[in-house]
């Protein structure tokens, strides 16, 4: 194993939650998010021998795999299905047996609104709030760091308007 490459399990334990949250903000249900997250780490595990820490950060590498897996998921299920899932996605319909996590429900509602944004805006918010730098977001979205910042700020503004419209 290359000296500057941490054990894969360290990456797995450190990033599983963040990757799941990123995927969860893209898709409608936690079941889909789990399936895609599983696929992400299966793929990453197989590819880890080829991972070069000199060329990219582990975070950027994993999120690239996550982004591709999410796009594959959408392609496999078709845009119609994706739209249906996004429209049908209601935060309170999700499993929350305790029923007491009001804050969590609010966050789910927020993520559901993120999921309804245009693709690039949705990804800019999801990647940025999953802990990536604007530079890393730019690399993943194939644009400059400044363009990534711009895209992100437009996305947040669009999200704010969507929230206001819904609560009006």
């Amino acid at each position: 194993m290359v000296a500057d490459r941490p054990p894969f399990e360290d990456l797995y334990r450190a990033y599983l939650g963040r990757i799941y949250a990123y995927v969860r903000a893209q898709v409608g249900t936690s079941a889909d998010a789990e399936d895609i997250t599983a696929q992400v780490f299966m793929n990453a595990y197989q590819a880890y021998a080829r991972f070069e820490a000199r060329n990219t950060t582990p975070a950027a590498w994993l999120f690239r795999i996550a982004r591709n897996a999410t796009l594959d998921h959408f392609r496999a299920h078709g845009r119609r299905e994706r739209l249906r899932r996004t429209i049908e996605h209601q935060p309170v319909a999700e499993e929350d047996p305790s029923g007491v996590a009001e804050e969590r429900i609010q966050y789910r509602a927020l993520l559901a609104r993120v999921a309804q944004l245009p693709e690039r805006q949705r990804e800019a918010i999801s990647l940025r709030h999953s802990g990536l730098s604007f530079e890393e977001v730019g690399v993943l979205l194939k644009c400059t760091e400044d363009a990534a910042k711009m895209l992100y700020h437009r996305a947040v503004k669009a999200l704010k308007e969507a929230v206001e419209e819904e609560t009006a």
Partner: protein
């Protein structure tokens, strides 16, 4: 953009931060997925990892494979030096002691006191109320006699050495535990509270835990067969059955030990008591806070192994430390009780033997096996004879931090 709008956007960004930070998969998903990933690896990859784990083990403890092979050869040939021991471990129990040589030697640090000031051993609370870290008394069975006992010394303690090694290990991580399990061919199932990991093969489950602070116990593994294991046909009896079981899983001890068997009905407890080599002295047993020897324990039902517990194989280094003299040790032992011989209503235990032993001192990131002097003797109350043990820390007090 107006200032209020900026503030609203900042608030939304904070909510997004919270939303992403609190959105996590359901409990258990992390370990489930990891297990699935391990299980779906190609057989070749698993074999390679097991091999790498074995090689890693060889690097850490150079003599392990030789010791395992040597142990196995002895079992196969049925050759071994059987020495019947007069010391039993329980009422009505049959006891056999057997010496086996194993050659693993810890890496030695050249300068005396190289580990710095050492923490003091915390022995089990003495029935007489002696306080740690001083000497401790314990009886066998201690629960049967909790009263005060006066002490006298009639034995002879020859300590021709003025220094003894202290052994040190680094606290294992979950990765260490995982490597250990991988070498056994087991995959991670979960990480239960208090354990480094719980693992499984098709035949047995393995649990690994780190150092326990009190009572001090080193990192250990416990192997439990899932299905009823087959009887092992070994000519030498329970000890050889246990050694075959351990050797088949690369768990044969890499250190010097003597063996004892405690038989109770169909169940035999095979105890491989660990020893540390001390130049100029010989071998010193590892004892717990009550002065009782321990190492690996394999439980058998007939000739079928039903469980095995032993210390995790860890890289150990050593450093020499000055130790107290025999006279100082005797004085400390006798001073461990506050009652005098001949006091009315107080039995007097006559300590007749003393030996160098090692006890574990748990100390966080690193833990130590430190030398102590174990005094033993007997006393009689109402016709019942009890064994009395007194443990005295052997390291020169100026090298102890507390």
């Amino acid at each position: 953009m107006s200032e209020p709008e900026d503030l609203e956007l900042e608030a939304l960004q904070r909510q997004l931060d919270d939303a992403f930070e609190t959105t996590r998969p359901r409990p258990g998903f992390e370990d489930e997925l990891w297990t699935r990933m391990q299980a779906r690896r190609p057989a070749g990859t698993r074999l390679r990892d097991a091999w790498l784990g074995l090689v890693q083990g060889i690097r850490e403890v150079p003599a392990v494979p030789l010791a395992a092979v040597a142990g196995l050869l002895v079992v196969v040939l049925g050759a071994g030096v059987l020495v019947y021991s007069g010391v039993g471990r329980g009422g009505g129990a049959a006891s056999i002691a057997q010496n086996r040589q194993a050659g693993a030697q810890p890496a030695a640090l050249s300068s005396p006191g190289a580990f710095g000031q050492l923490p003091s051993p915390r022995f089990a609370a003495a029935p007489t109320g002696a306080s740690a870290p001083g000497p401790v008394q314990s009886g066998t069975p201690s629960a049967d006699y909790a009263g005060q006992v006066a002490l006298t010394w009639t034995g002879k303690l020859d300590l021709t050495i003025s220094t003894a090694p202290v052994f040190r290990y680094h606290e294992p991580s979950t990765n260490t535990a995982d490597q250990f399990a991988t070498a056994l061919g087991a995959v991670l199932v979960s990480r239960p509270a208090g354990y480094l990991g719980s693992y499984q093969t098709t035949d047995f489950s393995v649990r690994v835990r780190g150092t326990v602070q009190s009572p001090a116990r080193e990192p250990t593994y416990t192997v439990l067969p899932i299905t009823s294991s087959a009887s092992i046909d070994a000519a030498g009896g329970p000890v050889d059955v246990a050694l075959v079981f351990l050797a088949e899983r690369s768990l044969a001890p890499s250190w010097q030990y003597t063996s004892n068997v405690v038989v109770s009905g169909d169940v035999s407890q095979v105890l491989l008591d660990r020893q540390f080599g001390v130049t100029g002295y010989g071998y010193a047993y590892l004892v717990d806070g009550n002065g009782r020897r321990y190492g690996i324990e394999v439980d058998l039902n007939g000739m079928r192994p039903i469980s095995a517990t032993g210390p995790l194989t860890l890289s150990i280094d050593s450093a020499q430390y000055p130790i107290i003299s025999a006279d100082q040790a005797v004085r400390s032992a006798l001073a461990s009780t506050q009652v005098s011989a001949g006091a009315p209503g107080v039995p007097t235990a006559t300590l007749t033997s003393a030996e160098l032993v090692y006890s574990l001192v748990a100390a966080g990131d690193h833990s130590f096996y430190e030398p102590s002097i174990l005094f033993s003797g007997t006393f009689t109350v109402n016709g019942t004879t009890y064994v009395k043990r007194v443990l005295v820390p052997a390291i020169d007090p100026t090298y102890r931090s507390s």
